[in-house]
Symmetry: C2
Subunit: 319 residues, 2 copies
């Protein structure tokens, strides 16, 4: 069944929640109308501030997201939330915490909440996440919070989607070392040490400070990631987090970094789409048998992978 995409986009922009949900479903399912949807959204995007929120399970991301939503709502801002579930490529299990804490916002017409699986992409964000962000942006969200559990490379990927990346830690979780390993020091624009009323919070802040000091030198106009302490369950420190997110946005704009980040992000996205198309074409060559046949020749020692790749490329250019 075909959908009137233009009408749907119109209703979504008028604040109709069901139309927003329907558009996200269309892009998420890679429906035949995906391209039509993307084309219809194009001129309405680029306004929303995209804020990534990541951290290990148990640091309090859902609670923080929920109280941040309240803070933005009291400023009259429309808020979108994209909660990404990183899923093992093998077992299909979801690790994301309960969404119960966000229920209080479920009936607020100024809040759009969407969960999204990662479809087997190893520990990473869904390929559909950028499209879903465009829908929320076009629907008039002032801020979109992208929440994901930090397993391995998730932090790095969320940073590639967000204008501002908030990395959350909590005392006594051994996050410090994990953080150093996973390279989150480099992707975090803002650090939040949540559960700051617990033992070890001061130590976590201290560890983080010394790791940041050990890191590379920054220029005089560079952004230095602030370290904030919060007790999200009591809403303590949340106003400061929102203020730092705004300050980072101002810095992004004045430094030209916002434009640079967004351009880099779009370049990556276009490349990814081209590569996906090439992969599909490749799989279809000679009725889907060419790749396997060449692989068999490599295994038999009759050719090598480079020569095989050259044959594929020649065939793709013929097509």
């Amino acid at each position: 069944m075909s959908t009137d995409v233009a009408a749907l986009v119109g209703r979504a922009r008028d604040g109709d929640h069901r139309s927003v949900a329907r558009l996200i479903s269309l892009v998420e399912s890679a429906s035949p109308q995906l391209r039509e949807v993307m084309a219809a959204l194009a001129s309405h995007t680029g306004r929303a501030q995209i804020v990534g929120l990541t951290g290990s399970p148990g640091v309090g991301k859902s609670t923080t997201t929920s109280v941040l939503i309240s803070a933005y709502r009291s400023d009259g801002k429309r808020v979108g939330v994209l909660a990404v579930d990183p899923t093992s490529p093998f077992s299909g299990g979801a690790l994301l915490g309960d969404r119960v804490r966000m229920q209080e916002h479920a009936t607020d017409p100024g809040v759009y909440i969407r969960s999204m699986g990662t479809r087997g992409h190893l520990g990473g964000l869904s390929w559909a996440a950028p499209q879903a962000l465009r829908v929320l942006d076009a629907a008039g969200c002032d801020v979109v919070l992208v929440e994901t559990v930090g397993v391995g490379q998730a932090e790095v990927e969320i940073a590639s989607l967000a204008d501002t990346t908030v990395v959350m830690l909590a005392p006594g979780m051994g996050d410090g070392i994990q953080a150093a390993k996973a390279g989150i020091l480099e992707v975090a624009d803002i650090f939040v040490v949540n559960k700051a009323d617990r033992d070890g919070a001061t130590q976590t802040v201290r560890d983080l400070k010394s790791m940041l000091t050990l890191g590379e030198k920054r220029g005089p106009d560079a952004w230095t990631p602030p370290i904030l302490s919060t007790v999200a369950s009591r809403e303590e420190g949340i106003a400061e987090v929102a203020a730092e997110i705004d300050r980072h946005r101002d810095w992004l704009q004045s430094s030209g970094e916002l434009e640079a980040r967004r351009r880099g992000r779009v370049v990556d996205e276009i490349e990814m789409l081209v590569v996906a198309a090439v992969r599909e074409q490749m799989g279809d060559l000679r009725g889907g048998t060419m790749l396997e046949e060449l692989a068999d020749k490599v295994l038999a020692g009759d050719t090598d992978p480079y020569a095989a790749a050259d044959q594929i490329i020649a065939k793709l250019e013929e097509a």
Copy 2:
């Protein structure tokens, strides 16, 4: 300076260490002669058993590798070792442990040891690793051990290179939970709990067993990953590890899984080479400006990423 590749391959096959090293350098540096080398190696590959060895820093991988080499050498087998250093894409620091323990094999003409960086590929194996494995294979190694530190996706990637993947753990490192997260349960063919003389070793084995039991059902002819206990520093349990590696090889062959894995691996490699070529072509379009220009149009709301990708694809096909 051009090298006589055929002569080099001949000498490598005669057991000349310097020629093997030179060939690996040629493939690792993506030299102009890379293709010539790969073509010259093609008919000599496919014999070696590729064994991946991974685990967190400190589990004893180097020691285990070293004593495994001794075990294989006393059977008269030629052994290659590829030690891959996973490197942060940002800081460039290497995490791999000392190679000192392998020094005792450095003068053995039947052992080839090579370290390799990962060149910024996030926590993953070097793109050159498959080519280096082909060199060691063609040079007549019976077994090639690929050793890498398990950070995030490294285990999954090593499994994509190896016929048999050995995942190492040690007591008291919190590996259990990490293991479950990173999906290593699914990629391990053999588990080794090293430092089995330490407190907590029994618990680590028990945790692992219960996690394996919780995993998906296996068919009657499926491989059930054994859990072995070792004290590598005293060579305890190493003969059993070597025996299980051989048993897994036999299973791979009789089940047809060896051929399936190797074919899948070559298909992936060919695809990767095609994609790399396409990415390069893409970057060169319109003197290197096309991608950025399209990205600017997307940012201005004049087009969308899908339409932009279509334009790139059309241009690539013209070329």
